[in-house]
Symmetry: C2
Subunit: 418 residues, 2 copies
C-alpha cells in the first residue's frame, strides 16, 4: 500500500513515539525497568484521594456518571468546567477572561498541533512561517507536530555556570531574530526537559518582541501555576489577547484522561474549537468532570501549592543530592531544577553520544531520554546537543535513587575505558 | 494575527462544527430544543447500569482507579484491552488478528484523520490521490479531515424506490471509477446519515475493486457489529490485511470518553500509533478500562445483540410510523432504516433548500441536520442534495414524536404556501 508524503513521516523513528512506547511498555514489563525516561507524573496520594472522592460523588449524584460518559461535549469543551476556570483565573490572577477565551482539547500535545499549525506553515501558498523556540532545548513533543517541513527555528541558549555543579540556560537575545518568517514564539515554563524557569524579565522581553512583530507568544504552562504548580520559583503569570497560555490536567495526576486547556483571544478559541470538531468531534468529558469541583472551590490552587509543589520539590532535592553523591569525582553538571519533573544532566565532553548512552543504560535496565531529541529547529552543529540526558524524578524514591546510581556507574565506566 | 492557509480553513462555517455546537448547546439550553440533529447515542439503561457497575468495580480494586487516571497508555492504546479485543474478534468472526492489528485512538473521527491522510493527499510532492466514497451521501464528519484540497471523490448512488414511502441507495458500479488517483475506498456501514447497510454483495465488489487497485478498503463500523450492533440486517463482517475496520465505543454509550479502534495490517497500525504519539501522546484510558471486562467475557456482544439492537430497532420502527402518520397526504420518502441512529428524510421537489428548512425548524425549536452537508466529494449539481434532512431517533420517544410532528407541520406549511 502506498503512503502519502504526510504518512511517510510517521513510518520512521520518531522521538516522542519511542519515548511513549518505552513509557507504556515499562508499566507492563516484567521485570519492570527503572523508568526514568517518561513524563508520567507521580501518583501523589492526597491528590489521588481527592479524585477518587470526586468520582464517588459523581456516582452518588443520580444520572451524573451517565451524563459524563454518555454525552458529547461541545467542541469547545464542558461548559461548566470552562465557567469555573474563568472564575479561577479572574480571581487568582485578575486576568480579564471570559468563557470565550477558553477551549479544552484532548491534551496539551493536541493543543500544540492546532496552535502551531494555525500560526506557522504555508501562507497564501507561497510564503512560509516558522514557530520560534527562543530557548533550546525544548519539549521533545513539539518536534513532529508541524504539517510543513522546517517548521521550527530554535535559538541556542547562553549557559550560566552556577555553583555546586549547576547551570542555567538563558535566552540569548543578541542572536534572537524575530521577523516576518516568525509565526509565533513558544516556550515551556517550567521547561520540559530542563526544569528551567524562564525569568519574568526574559518573558517581558519576548512578549515585547512578539508584540512588535504582531505574532502570539505561546506559553506552555503544562507544569506551571496555578496548577499543577510544579514550579519552585516565584513567577508572574501573564495573559492578554496577544498571549496564548496552554495548560493541562495531566501533571496534576490525570494523564489517562487527556485534558488540555487553551487560553487565548476569542478568535483563536473559535478556531481551536473548530479544529477539535474536525479532528476528534469533542474533547473527552471525564477529566473536566473529575476536576470540576476542585476548580470551582479554588481547592485546585491550594492543593497544587501546598501538596503538589512541595512533593516534587523535595523529590528534586533528593535526586540532586543522590546524583552528586554517586558522581563524586566525575565531570557533570545539572540544570538548576526550578520546576517540572526532570533533571537535565550534562556530561560535557562525553566520549560517546547520548543515544549510545541511552542504549547502554537500557541494557542495564534504566530508561532515560537522550537529550538530542530536545533540539527541534536547532540545526547547527553543537556538541552540547549530544551531551545531555533527561531523567525524571517523578517515580518512587527507591527507583530514582537506584536509577541515578546505575547512570553514575555507567558514566564512571565510560570514562575509565576512554 | 495572521493565520496559515491550514488555519484559515477553520475560520469559516464547518458542518461538523456547527452540528457539534448545536448538540452541546442543546444539552444546556433552557428551554431545551428538540434535539433531532446530533449523533448522541441513547442512554440505554441496561448498558449504562453495566458501565456504572464496572466503575464501582474499578474503585473497589485497590489502586486500579489511580492507575487508569494516573498513567499514560502507550500510543497504541491499553494493552489488556487490545488483547481482549483480539480474542473477541478471533472467536466472534474467526479473523486472523493479533495485538499488532489493533490501535486505539481518541475516537473514530480521530481515526479517519489519520487514515485518510495516510492514504490520500500528496505523493512525492507532485501526484495527488483522493479518498473514494463509493456511495454518497456519506458521514458529515469526513468533510474537513483531509489536509489537501479536493480530498474526496464521491459517487452518486442509484436510488431504489421501495414500497411504503421507503427507498434505498445502491452503489452505482457503472459510474464508479477506481484508478491511480484513488488512495483508499471508504464507506460507513451502517451508513451515517442514511441508516443504509451496504449489502454483502456490494462489499464484495468494492473489496475486489480496491484489491485490484492495491488500495485499502476502509469500513467505518462505528454503528456495526459486533458492537454496538445498531444494525437491523444480517451481514457478514469482513477483515483481512487489505481491509481496515474502524470501530468506536461511542455509540455503545461512551461518547464522552472518546475511544476509537482501528483494525488493520501491522504496518498501518504502527503508523497510526506514531500519529497518536505526535498529535495527542496517547489515547484516553478510561473508555478501554470501562469496557475491558465486557470485551473479555464477550458480554459486549451479547448486550449489543440482545439489548442495544432491539432498543434502537424498536425506536426506528416507532419513528417511521409517527412520521408517516404526520405526513399523511404529503410527498416524502424515508431511507429504509437498516441501522445507525437516524432517519434520512427525502422531500423530493421541496420548494426551499434544506438549509432554509433547518433554519425554519430551529426557529420552531427543533434541531435537525441539513442533508447538503453529507455529500463531501460530490461536486456535481444534483437537486437531491438539497432535498434531504437527517433526524436522529436516539432521543426519548416523546421528544422524537413531537419533533417529527413539528417537522411534518412545517413541511405542510411550506407546501400550502407554495
Amino acid at each position: 500500500m502506498e503512503h502519502s508524503d504526510f504518512g511517510k513521516r510517521f513510518a520512521g523513528r520518531i522521538g516522542i513515539g519511542e519515548l511513549m512506547d518505552d513509557l507504556g511498555n515499562a508499566l507492563v514489563a516484567d521485570p519492570a525497568p527503572l523508568m526514568l525516561g517518561g513524563g508520567n507524573p507521580s501518583h501523589v496520594p492526597p491528590v489521588q484521594a481527592r479524585f477518587r472522592k470526586r468520582m464517588e460523588a459523581i456516582l452518588a449524584q443520580p444520572g451524573e456518571f451517565e451524563r459524563v460518559i454518555g454525552n458529547y461535549d461541545t467542541p469547545q469543551g464542558a461548559k461548566l468546567f470552562i465557567e469555573s476556570l474563568v472564575e479561577l483565573f479572574r480571581s487568582e490572577f485578575g486576568w480579564k477572561v471570559g468563557p470565550e477565551n477558553f477551549a479544552l482539547t484532548n491534551g496539551s500535545q493536541n493543543s500544540f498541533f492546532y496552535l502551531f499549525n494555525l500560526f506557522a506553515g504555508r501562507f497564501e501558498e507561497t510564503r512560509r512561517k516558522q514557530i520560534l523556540l527562543p530557548l533550546a532545548p525544548e519539549y521533545i513533543g513539539y518536534s513532529e507536530v508541524g504539517l510543513e517541513k522546517d517548521f521550527f527555528r530554535a535559538n541556542r541558549p547562553e549557559i550560566a555556570r552556577l555553583e555546586d555543579n549547576l547551570f542555567k540556560y538563558q535566552v540569548d537575545f543578541d542572536s534572537l531574530r524575530i521577523n516576518e518568517e516568525t509565526g509565533a514564539v513558544c516556550f515551556s515554563r517550567p521547561t520540559n526537559p530542563t526544569g528551567n524557569v524562564v525569568t519574568d524579565e526574559e518573558v517581558s522581553r519576548l512578549r515585547e518582541l512578539a508584540n512588535r512583530q504582531g505574532v502570539p507568544l505561546i506559553i506552555d504552562n503544562a507544569y506551571g501555576t496555578p496548577f499543577p504548580n510544579i514550579i519552585y520559583e516565584e513567577v508572574q503569570p501573564i495573559w492578554d489577547e496577544d498571549v496564548i497560555v496552554c495548560m493541562s490536567l495531566s501533571k496534576l495526576g490525570l494523564p489517562g484522561l487527556r485534558t488540555g486547556i487553551v487560553i487565548a483571544r476569542e478568535e483563536t478559541i473559535r478556531i481551536v474549537s473548530r479544529m477539535t470538531s474536525v479532528f476528534s468531534l469533542a474533547p473527552g468529558g471525564m477529566g473536566p468532570a473529575l476536576a470540576l469541583d476542585m476548580v470551582k472551590t479554588g481547592e485546585i490552587t491550594r492543593i497544587s501549592r501546598e501538596v503538589v509543589r512541595p512533593f516534587y520539590e523535595n523529590k528534586a532535592q533528593r535526586a540532586v543530592a543522590w546524583f552528586k553523591r554517586e558522581m563524586e569525582g566525575l565531570p557533570f553538571a545539572i540544570h538548576k531544577p526550578e520546576g517540572a519533573l526532570f533533571l537535565w544532566l550534562w556530561f560535557e565532553g562525553l566520549p560517546i553520544s547520548t543515544q549510545e548512552l541511552y542504549e547502554r543504560l537500557k541494557q542495564k535496565g534504566v530508561l532515560v531520554v537522550s537529550g538530542h531529541y530536545f533540539f527541534p529547529g536547532l540545526e547547527e552543529d553543537w556538541p552540547h546537543k549530544d551531551e545531555c540526558i533527561r531523567v525524571t524524578y517523578a517515580q518512587d524514591d527507591e527507583l530514582v535513587e537506584k536509577g541515578l546510581s546505575l547512570i553514575a556507574s555507567e558514566i564512571r565506566e565510560i570514562y575509565s575505558n576512554s
